[in-house]
Symmetry: C2
Subunit: 135 residues, 2 copies
């Protein structure tokens, strides 16, 4: 079977330092109606648990309440895939911003009632990534 | 293309009340080496943001640090799909426990280096769901 050439992420790099990129992502998420429901500081967690050194890596779990409510009504188990993450990390001297591609992720579910919401979330998170990365 | 008959969740119902099921899931996650890095009380969040009433629904974001560290080394962007969620919710008079099927989820990534970790996480979360639900 041919590999489908669509990524599970919406990604870019930015000239912003890490902390600026994180702040910009938070602003753009708010502008698109997403609250940040949970955060994982991967660097701190892995330092604390394993004693390993990694570059900065932050996971922001974003949720648009209206879209989540409708999606959960259509698909009770969907919480295993929520919230939708945007990550900011440093690698190879660059700051990366990446959001989950909600359309790809929700294709796993196989519930056509989610198609419209998935496309809407993808569109909004693509906008967040693009605007947050802009100079 | 035929629909692949594999679910994105590992699910069951339990006779436990909601709060007991949540406590059991936490215990079993710890036994399998998972910390809970974030939690989303969906019922409270949607009541707060939208004023809607839903039955209890909790998302627990679980992470095994060793497995996550190895997986992130193999796939930098993987954070958009982490942590792995286990949800507990009430619906139709029953308590449901459901974990993400890590093998299905990570099939989105298309990175063969993740296969072994995905299978291991799937096995452990299946055990968590089964044992937490047991009478």
């Amino acid at each position: 079977m041919p590999r489908v050439d669509v990524s599970y992420t919406l990604s870019t790099t930015t000239t912003h330092p890490f902390d600026v990129a994180v702040a910009r992502v938070r602003e753009e998420l708010a502008d698109e109606g997403f609250g940040v429901l949970c955060e994982v500081d991967v660097q701190a967690t892995l330092k604390n648990k394993l004693g390993v050194d990694r570059e900065p890596y932050l996971i922001l779990g974003a949720c648009n309440p209206q879209l989540a409510h409708g999606a959960l009504n259509a698909e009770s188990e969907l919480g295993v895939l929520l919230p939708c993450n945007v990550v900011v990390y440093r690698q190879d001297g660059e700051t990366h911003i990446s959001a989950v591609n909600a359309e790809q992720m929700l294709s796993l579910v196989g519930n056509d009632e989610l198609s419209e919401t998935a496309a809407e979330v993808r569109r909004r998170l693509a906008s967040v990534v693009e605007k947050a990365a802009a100079a």
